[in-house]
């Protein structure tokens, strides 16, 4: 193996997997997989959804045992791990979906179930000792919040720091971060990557799983690529680059991301226009924004900059506290999402499972839901009309499912997102708002969703895309509006696109 950092190469691995195979009835989830992790090494683990990452995580966490192969932790070879053995040998997980009690404070979360107790029969929590124990941990992760902050008041990145501090508190030697940045904005991502570097400096190993390849490029010493349950390849530090990773992940080279014609697009007629609109979150900050027919307007900014809140106002979920909305030059009053839908303004929300689809309903029922009266005769639902609409969308969008009667809860993230898109495409969108449309979605499905947005724009739909993924914003948008603390801090045309400019505007400075 090609180690660039010779000091790491010299050490004995903390963890090594040899020839691990795991099958579930009918599915080979992992096959002949080997890897090793040395102390202080940061390993990027990438692979499309279904490549075997989750199975690998389950094996390392001791949730499941491999059929064959050996796992050597700290020199001791075993057939498999138990949850206790995994924890006991210092393997800690930070999951994409955080396991924190947001009604408790930071200290209580970090030492949950292991609180220092005061002497006496009442077994009261020793709060001052607890704080003493927490302080150094927070310092190590570079936290800028105190131990008695309620977790609910923390940003996502800060909550992840709490998770990492928790991992450190059990003297973790290997921290596994599962898609930690997928919901983080740029600035917060940087903080997290710094924490990873700090862990590395302390000799703690890190396995960093992410779909955001440029982040892997920045921190990983080595990249392990999984494909179809097998090791597709390992890249040493010098070979880690975007194209190589993608090539290994999908087994071929992706053609260069299609660059939309660099020539400036002729501006279209304004579809949705916000004039001095005030959202409930930033009532003191009026927003002016025009979305044109036929364009993809990227809406960038830090999390909490008011992008989602603006989208909620455009979709009628939140009321507009001041200013006016116009659609195609006519004033628009929205009292509810139903009003927005009636005007052809659709939203693909940020939180797919909570607001995007109904997991218990079928694909067909989800797709017909916003337009049910059109699928009914005398207000009785027509199953055949419903199925027909859903079949069309399933075919056009390439939704992978046994049938349109399949429960959406059983679909992968990418396919669920396509169902959300399908329910709006089945109607006639005028303005399509997409809030983080590719979060948690694998590369193949991402490309399809970009293609769909472009097709919509080409058909004259005004597309507003909120995204915290810098590559996405720059690669997909025709124009980029950047928000900072509730206001539009600037709008970039294609010739002004650069990561630097977006970042500058996002932190409230003028673009170059």
């Amino acid at each position: 193996m090609n180690y660039s950092d010779t000091s790491i190469a010299a050490t004995t691995p903390f963890l090594s997997l040899e020839n691990v195979r795991k099958t579930y009835p009918g599915v080979v989830a992992l096959d002949g997989f080997s890897m090793e992790v040395r102390p202080g090494e940061v390993i990027g683990l990438v692979g499309e959804n279904g490549a075997g990452k989750s199975t690998l995580m389950k094996i390392l966490g001791g949730v499941t045992t491999p059929d064959t192969g050996t796992i050597t932790v700290d020199g001791a070879a075993r057939k498999g791990l138990t949850v206790e053995a995994s924890l006991g040998s210092g393997i800690a997980f930070v999951h994409q979906e955080l396991n924190l009690f947001d009604n408790l404070d930071v200290a209580a979360n970090i030492f949950f179930g292991r609180e220092p107790l005061r002497a006496g029969p009442l077994r009261l929590v020793d709060r001052s000792k607890l704080r003493e124990m927490v302080a150094p941990l927070l310092k190590r992760v570079g936290a800028n919040f105190s131990a008695d902050t309620q977790v609910a008041d923390l940003s996502l990145a800060q909550q992840q720091m709490v998770e990492i501090a928790k991992a450190l508190s059990i003297k973790a030697r290997l921290v596994i971060l599962d898609e930690p940045t997928s919901s983080l904005p740029i600035a917060e991502t940087d903080k997290l990557l710094d924490v990873i570097k700090a862990l590395k400096a302390d000799g703690i190993s890190v396995i960093f799983i992410s779909h955001r390849l440029h982040e892997i490029e920045r921190v990983a010493d080595r990249v392990v690529v999984l494909r179809d349950g097998m090791l597709a390849g390992t890249l040493g530090k010098r070979d880690v680059n975007h194209d190589q990773m993608v090539k290994l992940m999908i087994g071929r080279m992706l053609k260069e991301r299609e660059k939309a014609s660099e020539a400036a697009r002729a501006p279209g007629a304004v579809a949705l226009s916000a004039k001095a609109v005030r959202t409930p979150t930033y009532p003191g900050r009026p927003v002016d924004l025009d979305v044109q027919h036929g364009e993809i307007l990227g809406l960038a900014g830090l999390v909490g900059s008011g992008r989602t809140e603006l989208a909620r106002v455009f979709f009628g979920i939140d009321s507009c506290l001041g200013g006016t909305l116009e659609l195609d030059g006519r004033p628009l009053a929205l009292a509810s999402a139903a009003d927005a839908v009636a005007h052809g303004i659709f939203l693909v929300p940020e939180d797919r499972k909570l607001t995007g689809i109904l997991l218990d309903l079928s694909i067909a029922q989800n797709i017909s839901l916003p337009n049910l009266p059109a699928h009914a005769k005398r207000s009785l639902v027509s199953a055949s009309a419903e199925t027909a609409t859903a079949e069309t969308q399933k075919k056009n969008l390439g939704i992978k499912a046994p049938s349109v009667q399949t429960r959406t809860g059983t679909l992968s993230g990418g396919n669920q997102q396509k169902v959300v898109l399908g329910k709006w495409l089945a109607m006639n969108p005028k303005v399509m708002i997409l809030d983080e449309p590719t979060r948690g979605i694998d590369i193949g499905a991402k490309a399809e969703i970009y293609g769909l947005m472009r097709a919509l724009a080409d058909a004259g739909v005004a597309v507003l895309m909120i995204s915290s993924d810098m590559e996405e914003v720059i690669g997909v948008s025709d124009r980029i509006a950047v928000m900072h603390e509730g206001q539009i801090s600037g709008i970039l045309d294609k010739d002004q696109f650069s990561q630097e400019n977006v970042l500058l505007l996002a932190v409230g400075k003028p673009a170059n």
Binding site: Y24, P25, G26, V27, V28, F315, I317, S336, A337, A338, A340, V341, A342, L347, P349, L354, T355, G356, I357, L358, L359, D360, L361, Q365, N366, L369, P370, L372, P373, A376, S379, L380, V381, K423
Partner: protein
């Protein structure tokens, strides 16, 4: 009819067979007629409750509403000399108004259904008792309303007309719940109100409509109960009826979290509850144990259903895995 409903039906038949063997009087026409009358009365009440439960809500005030509206109905026709058809409609309107008020408090002012309807339970009972000055509302000697009595407490071909009323209402409400756009909205809201809202459904109106339906059906059953007992002492009339209705829905497969349950289920739940009542009477079980028997049976029923669900989920997973094996082999 889904598997859950079928299981419930089989349970009803088995319990019925056992009771009939131990005490053949169970099958006497008079007993069956009485029981089916009660099924009719409680069934109408329970369907109303089911519409609220499907949205994830609860309506605790129905027992008190039965007392209040029953009292008012008898007072309107027996004391105030109002024509019964007018009184009938007026009571239904009052039921709708109560439902509307509850729905408004819950959807617009965002109060919890449990709290709103618990207050309703206290308020309507109190008002009913105050209205009669804690007396009894009843008909004067010799006072009768042949048409009304036929429709509510009468029988056709030996079958109580209240039971026919239930069947008609059940058919209509089955279509509403399982086939209509509104019914689909109810399920969607019960499953995930936020997602329903983000799909452009006016969730507030739909939920409010569910409470109105519950109010109207409760009012209708209040009239039936009033005509069945013919005299009402508001302090005790209709007490715990909300619990009968909730129990019928839960037995019938409704989840109190919302979004689950079928109309046939709630009817079968009502039938089973009334069968158990009858069983207590016929088998000479002390009637003081009445509630204990019902509670025990509901608990066992829900437990079996839940365990059955776990078992089936496990079997589904194994099946899926096997199918996956076949699929993988085919590729």
């Amino acid at each position: 009819m889904n598997k859950k409903d079928l299981g419930l039906l089989i349970l009803i038949l088995v319990v019925g067979a056992i009771v009939a063997i131990i005490n053949p009087r169970f099958l006497l026409p008079i007993n069956l007629a009485n029981t089916s009358n009660l099924i009719g009365l409680f069934g109408i009440l329970s369907i109303g409750q089911a519409f609220v439960i499907i949205t994830g809500g609860i309506e605790l005030s129905v027992g008190s509403v039965v007392a209040l509206l029953g009292t008012l109905f008898i007072d309107f026709i027996a004391v105030r000399g109002m024509g019964w058809p007018i009184a009938f409609v007026l009571i239904l309107v009052l039921g709708a108004v109560i439902g509307l008020a509850h729905g408004w408090l819950i959807t617009r002012l965002k109060l919890q259904p449990f709290v709103v309807t618990l207050c309703g339970l206290l308020i309507y009972r109190g008002v009913a008792r105050f209205y009669t000055a804690d007396g009894t509302a009843g008909f004067a000697f010799g006072q009768n309303f042949p048409d009304l009595e036929f429709l509510t407490a009468g029988r056709s071909w030996g079958v109580p007309n209240s039971f026919f009323a239930l069947i008609v209402i059940a058919i209509v409400m089955w279509v509403v719940l399982h086939r209509s756009v509104f019914g689909r909205y109810l399920y969607a809201i019960g499953k995930n109100e936020e997602a329903a809202k983000y799909s452009g459904i006016r969730t507030g109106r739909v939920v409010m409509a569910a409470y109105v339906i519950c109010g109207v059906l409760t009012a209708l059953s209040a009239i039936y109960f009033a005509m069945y007992t013919r005299s009402i002492s508001p302090a005790s009339h209709g007490q715990f009826y909300e619990l009968y209705a909730i129990a019928a829905a839960v037995l019938g497969g409704f989840s109190l979290r919302g979004g689950e349950g079928s109309l046939i289920g709630v009817i079968l739940g009502t039938v089973l509850l009334q069968e158990l009542q009858n069983l207590v009477n016929l088998l000479g079980i002390p009637s003081s144990l009445n509630f204990a028997v019902m509670g025990g049976v509901i608990l066992i029923g829900v437990l079996v259903d839940q365990q059955w669900g776990v078992f089936r989920a496990r079997r589904r997973m194994v099946d899926a895995a096997r199918k996956g094996a076949v699929g993988a082999a085919a590729e």
